[in-house]
């Protein structure tokens, strides 16, 4: 089964990716799909900035503008940021703990295909009568009244991809608890693994409320229920609660892995053990916990009353404490370190002031009384772009450069990488810094235009100009990816030379079984310890033996396709078209049929035999 070294035709490669259950290939799928959605979401952002560049612009109509901002937010959060984070979690986390795969490789594939079909479904709305237009938060009173099928695409698309995310979370939790290599105790786990762990727990408890919210809205819009309709006894605020009970943990689901990636980078390129490791772990867990206690700070102006507002305001400000712990730990990691300014380190360095700025506006917004002034203005837009772009997107770009050699076996070009960084960094601050002031001057968010003489012209022009810079940065990165992929200069185990954790102890890309022999972990930064003692690699914790591997399967694709088909049926059922109900039933039959097949067909996987592993040694694959 040692097929990784062979050249394969396009058809065979495609089939391989459609049926793979290997976490490293699933990571590549997540990276490609998430990257494409990132470009789509970025294009939508560019359209927004073109429309707002000058007053009274008619580049897009008001209705289309609503669709674009809704899809920009939804796409970036659910279809770009989360999958890209999942890409790195899949690619790196099992390697960091010394595992041969995740706990449920099959479910991992199901997770990806559910996300993929959900995302495609949502984006098909552009071609099938219009995209959702009620904002990414899709508040019920707006969403229920939205004409056409736009919001239906939102409901069903997010529902499908949300199932995938939930399963992914469970999968990572079990992997980290059950499959750590000998010696890899919890307090020796790399910070990225820790953040994956906490993030997965957040996913597990945050996604079900979204599932329920989406189900209720689906029932209201498609099956005649009245959860959100006041005239029938319903209550529109229920959606706001359910959405934000999901939505606030969601932003920590995004930012914690980003913290994890940056922790790895700071430690690697300062050539120093991470400062305050245990307080970093503590802060990560605490942020995860507090993340569930603050959802109503999104609803200060809803009218929950002063007591509720005060409690949620204080709880929100409390999150600044563990976050501050992290910021100082990163600074102290660099302090006295032998800092190497690689591309990932550029992002990490820029992240600190950027994210602190986003955090400070966060505390400003948390002051409930003051929030009445900021609410629904560009100040909020500036705040969340500072934390999400300055935190999450910087981390994703940094992670792309950092882990590219581990995922693909070749380095991205450092010069082009730094050009990407500088254009993106300058463009980002140009776009969003000025938006703080736009907000304070009174420009509301989600408006499709403004009038001349309101004092918004210059600031909006600057903001739009900055967006062009960011686009250039992304284009340079795409060129970088193409150029380096064509050159394809192969690299060894530890291409940065500063690897500290287990993933850098094995080949890039790793063989499909990852570790020929599970490594013995002797402390935090396991690989660094061995390197410092002059050893070439990890000490094995077990004799060479047969390795048990899971079989590939096409069922994850079929299972997800079934729900994709069923979603069309459910949606057009509202129009009373004759084929809708049969299509819905057909789709569900496909999904349940695939589940049934999976249940009754035994799948014991296969074994790679000791002799084959020894053959690999001759081909130069060292574990």
């Amino acid at each position: 089964m040692s097929t990784y070294a062979q050249k394969k035709g396009f058809g065979a490669t495609l089939w391989d990716f459609l049926t793979t259950v290997d976490h490293k290939k699933i990571a590549i799928l997540y990276l490609i799909a998430g990257g494409l959605f990132f470009l789509v979401g970025g294009l939508e952002a560019v359209f927004i900035r073109i429309q707002l560049a000058v007053p009274n612009n008619d580049f897009v109509s008001a209705g289309l503008f609503n669709e674009i901002i809704t899809m920009h937010g939804t796409t970036m959060i659910f279809l770009a940021a989360m999958p890209l984070i999942f890409a790195f979690m899949n690619a790196v986390m099992p390697l960091q703990i010394g595992a041969r795969d995740v706990a449920f490789p099959f479910v991992n594939a199901v997770s990806f295909w559910l996300f993929f079909f959900g995302g495609v479904f949502l984006n098909l709305s552009w071609f099938l009568g219009g995209a959702p237009d009620a904002g990414w938060t899709s508040y019920a009173s707006l969403a229920i009244a939205s004409k056409g099928h736009g919001v239906d695409f939102y409901i069903l698309g997010l529902q499908i991809s949300g199932f995938g995310t939930l399963m992914g979370g469970i999968n990572f939790l079990v992997t980290i608890i059950n499959m750590r290599a000998p010696g890899m105790t919890y307090m020796r786990m790399p910070l990225f693994t820790w953040s994956t762990f906490v993030t997965s727990a957040l996913i597990l408890f945050a996604f079900p409320p979204l599932t329920v919210g989406l189900v209720l809205m689906m029932f209201d819009r498609m099956f005649g229920a009245h959860f959100f309709e006041a005239a029938m006894g319903g209550n529109t605020i229920i959606w706001e609660h359910l959405f934000w009970i999901f939505g606030h943990p969601e932003v920590y689901i995004l930012i914690l892995p980003a913290f994890g990636i940056f922790s790895e980078i700071f430690s690697m390129f300062s050539r120093k053990r991470l400062f305050g490791y245990s307080s970093m772990v503590f802060a990560t867990v605490l942020i995860g916990f507090l993340g569930f206690m603050v959802w109503a700070h999104h609803m200060f102006t809803t009218g929950l009353g002063p007591v509720a507002n005060a409690i949620f305001a204080v709880a929100t400000m409390a999150i600044g404490v563990p976050t501050g712990i992290k910021i100082f730990n990163w600074l102290f990691t660099m302090w006295g370190g032998s800092v190497k300014f690689t591309t990932p380190m550029h992002y990490a360095f820029a992240f600190i002031p950027t994210f602190v700025a986003g955090g400070v506006t966060g505390v400003m917004l948390a002051a409930a009384a003051a929030d009445y002034q900021y609410h629904d203005t560009y100040f909020v837009v500036a705040h969340f772009h500072y934390v999400i772009v300055g935190g999450v997107v910087f981390a994703l770009l940094a992670g792309t450069h950092l882990y590219w050699p581990k995922m693909f076996g070749t380095m991205l070009n450092e010069t082009l990488g730094k050009i990407t960084f500088w254009t993106f960094f300058i463009g980002f601050h140009m776009t969003f810094f000025i938006q703080h002031f736009l907000g304070l001057w009174g420009m509301p968010r989600r408006v499709f235009t403004y009038l001349p003489g309101q004092g918004f012209e210059t600031a909006n022009a600057v903001s739009s100009f900055g967006a062009a810079f960011m686009s250039v940065g992304v284009i340079v990165m795409l060129i970088n990816i193409i150029v380096t992929s064509v050159k394809n200069v192969k690299v060894g185990n530890d291409p940065w030379g500063d690897g500290r954790t287990l993933e850098w102890a094995i080949p890039s890309p790793p063989p499909f079984y990852n570790f020929k022999q599970l490594p013995l972990v002797r402390g935090l930064d396991a690989y660094w310890i061995e390197k410092m003692e002059g050893k070439k690699g990890m000490t094995p914790a077990e004799p060479l033996g047969d390795i048990h591997m899971p079989n590939s399967s096409f069922l994850p694709f079929i299972m997800s396709l079934g729900l994709f088909i069923a979603a069309f049926g459910a949606m057009y059922h509202v129009d009373k078209v004759s084929w809708a109900l049969p299509v819905m039933i057909l789709g569900l039959l496909i999904t349940f049929g695939a589940m049934f097949t999976r249940s009754v067909k035994d799948d014991h996987g296969f074994h790679i035999h000791k002799e084959e592993l020894m053959d690999d040694d001759d081909k130069g694959v060292k574990a």
């Binding site: 029932f219 005649g224 229920a225 209550n235 014991h604």
Partner: protein
């Protein structure tokens, strides 16, 4: 230990539901899944409590007009007993008594089916009294909460029957023992959810 290995009463491990890595993963993963399900039902309960008795006009029936103790009490007893019988099934699974396990699983499934039958009858009864899914927010919330639970029972029934049919001829091994065990966890979970529904929806509903 190998998943397909043949066992006897003597060689059968004490905890067959978690004696391979795959089984341990399944066991832990399912507990996490149930954690997520708990939040799911908690959200549905919260929605129900917010919309209880919220009807558009005074002619429509409220919780205290609808719910009657005898019917829901019988349904509760059926489901609670089925949880007990699934415990018996797992007891025999751990003792490698395959046919006894199958008998108790069969009884579990029958009790579950009885419960579902009563629920269908109950729903149709309410619809006749004007309490419909589409008639009010109260109706929507009631049928969604109780219906989600009913859907879980129905899925559990299909699951149980599939497991029984698939393994009817091959007895117990370390590949299917965790499957039976995980099913029993699921069955207990929907039983626990029902205890809350019985309390929050029916008992508190009858009080007013």
């Amino acid at each position: 230990m190998h998943a397909e290995e043949k066992f006897t009463y003597e060689t059968w491990p004490a905890a067959p539901e978690k004696s391979t890595l795959e089984a341990k993963n399944k066991f832990l993963g399912f507990w996490f899944f149930l954690g997520g399900e708990t939040v799911l039902f908690a959200s549905l309960f919260a929605t129900y409590l917010a919309l209880k008795d919220k009807v558009p006009n005074t002619n429509m029936p409220l919780a205290k007009d609808l719910f009657e103790l005898p019917l829901t009490f019988v349904a509760t007893m059926l489901l609670l007993t089925s949880s007990l019988t699934s415990v018996y099934a797992m007891y025999h699974m751990k003792n490698f008594a395959f046919s006894k396990m199958m008998v108790w699983l069969g009884i579990t499934a029958l009790l579950g089916a009885g419960f579902l039958g009563l629920e269908v009858y109950e729903f149709s009864h309410y619809v006749h009294e004007g309490h419909k899914f589409t008639s009010s927010a109260f109706g929507s919330a009631f049928y969604t909460l109780v219906g989600f639970h009913g859907g879980h029972v129905a899925f559990g029934l299909l699951w149980c029957i599939t497991l029984m049919l698939r393994n009817a001829k091959r007895g117990l091994n370390l590949y299917n023992a965790p499957k039976f065990y995980v099913f029993s966890l699921y069955w207990h979970f929907i039983d626990v959810v029902w205890v809350f529904i019985f309390t929050v929806v029916y008992l508190m509903g009858m009080v007013g």
